[in-house]
Symmetry: C2
């Protein structure tokens, strides 16, 4: 019988210094991950990862809560082949090779640097390959910055879209912002986007100058972290009373026109 | 100082008989909710809920893991004013009244019947009112059926939209299915939708007859439950080898043309 491909959520504190409080008295992994998920992670013999080094760090955190069923150095961790950003393409042959342990009956974990793998993150092509090979796929509960941001925004949660990154070029970005605003107005659909943290401030100022004053804009920054916050206001109110979005903390931007 | 409005995730087993295994040896709430979240839920004195009765049942499950900081009958639980499905409108005055404890310094929990409140569920208007009153909003990590389905689908997770329910009328539904397929093809955007469980089979057959054979369709059913499964295939493959979607289990449908 084939093994299962488990989609294992990661915490949202990747790259954020001093992310979690040490004072809460429980291991930080249990702030955001269910014990049931940590137990599964602790027993998986094979991993496919966005990054092997951070996966080893993740497994050390798992081990603090539930002892790993084998020594860390005995756990197989292979990295996903890199695809271009925004592309789903990875060589199919290579992906099938990554799933070989599942065809031999072993369970595999898929993990990315933050949140759920295959959502705004690499991994979808591997999941697709698993379906094609009739390997069972199971996604495990954990933090999703997009859904946390959407819930915290108070914007329309009955209809929403995640559009990824906006263009870096200023003129193309402005065109895209106006397009998303028009789409949001027409369909009453919340539009969510992300940015590389060091460009957070640039994106915020582009949104504030490109959107209508009455459009509602929400920013969630440092979700699940001690210093995290969410603000939703009209573009006019943001302009009248600006908030700085730090350049070192992941943020999610949402708008509803 | 104002209290915080916590958006508390619920499990995904609402209305599903014999949902969780009793054999795993840990309380079922810990299969899907982090201990940190259960600890917050255990200390909240006030709740705003989609349904008061099921919230009391939820708090009894919380109490099995972390003792409630006060007796259940001393915890204030008020229900959200009902809005029409798909509408975000609820009387603003009433919502402000629900937030009065936060203005008096108490923390409030917002909870829906399943998953994250305010995402494909009521609550967004209350969150909006909280932002207007400068009440801090914090969304807590938990299961989101939409994100679990999207991750498990292997479809595009870099660009996706959730469009809620399709029309019940067959002709209007077919028009909408074709519109979503065209949109998905144009933007390479995964389209996610849900249905009332007793209409799962109707929606699946409408999708199979309305979509092109090459469009990929994913169904995730009973997510986080013992009997849960996810299948992704082309529409042609679904037709050649059908899978029944049970009429008593929540499902998420996704397509990518």
């Amino acid at each position: 019988m084939n093994g299962t491909l488990y989609l294992v959520p990661n915490t949202l504190d990747f790259g954020v210094a001093a992310a979690e409080s040490e004072t809460s008295g429980i291991p930080d992994l249990q702030q955001v991950l269910p014990l049931g998920v940590i137990r599964i992670a602790a027993r998986l013999p094979c991993w496919v990862a966005e990054n092997a080094k951070t996966t080893r760090a993740f497994l050390k955190r798992v081990n603090e809560v539930v002892p790993l069923s084998q020594p860390l150095q005995a756990i197989a961790i292979v990295e996903l082949p890199r695809a271009n950003k925004g592309s789903q393409q990875a060589p199919a042959v290579k992906l099938d090779a990554l799933l070989a342990p599942a065809l031999a009956g072993q369970d595999i974990g898929l993990i990315s640097e933050a949140g759920l793998p295959a959502v705004a993150d690499p991994g979808a092509a591997l999941v697709q390959a698993a379906h094609a090979l009739k390997v069972r796929v199971e996604a495990l509960s954990g933090p999703s910055s997009l859904m946390l941001a959407l819930a915290a925004s108070g914007l329309n949660g009955q209809s929403f879209a995640f559009v990824g990154y906006l263009p870096v070029d200023a003129a193309a970005r402005l065109t895209r912002i106006r397009e998303l605003e028009a789409l949001s107005r027409r369909a009453q659909q919340t539009q969510l986007m992300i940015e590389t943290p060091y460009r957070n401030a640039t994106l915020l100022s582009a949104l504030l100058s490109g959107l209508s004053g009455s459009t509602r804009l929400s920013v969630s920054c440092g979700l699940t972290l001690e210093q995290g916050w969410s603000r939703t206001d009209t573009v006019s109110a943001w302009k009248a009373s600006p908030t700085t979005v730090p350049a070192d903390t992941p943020a999610v931007f949402s708008l509803l026109a």
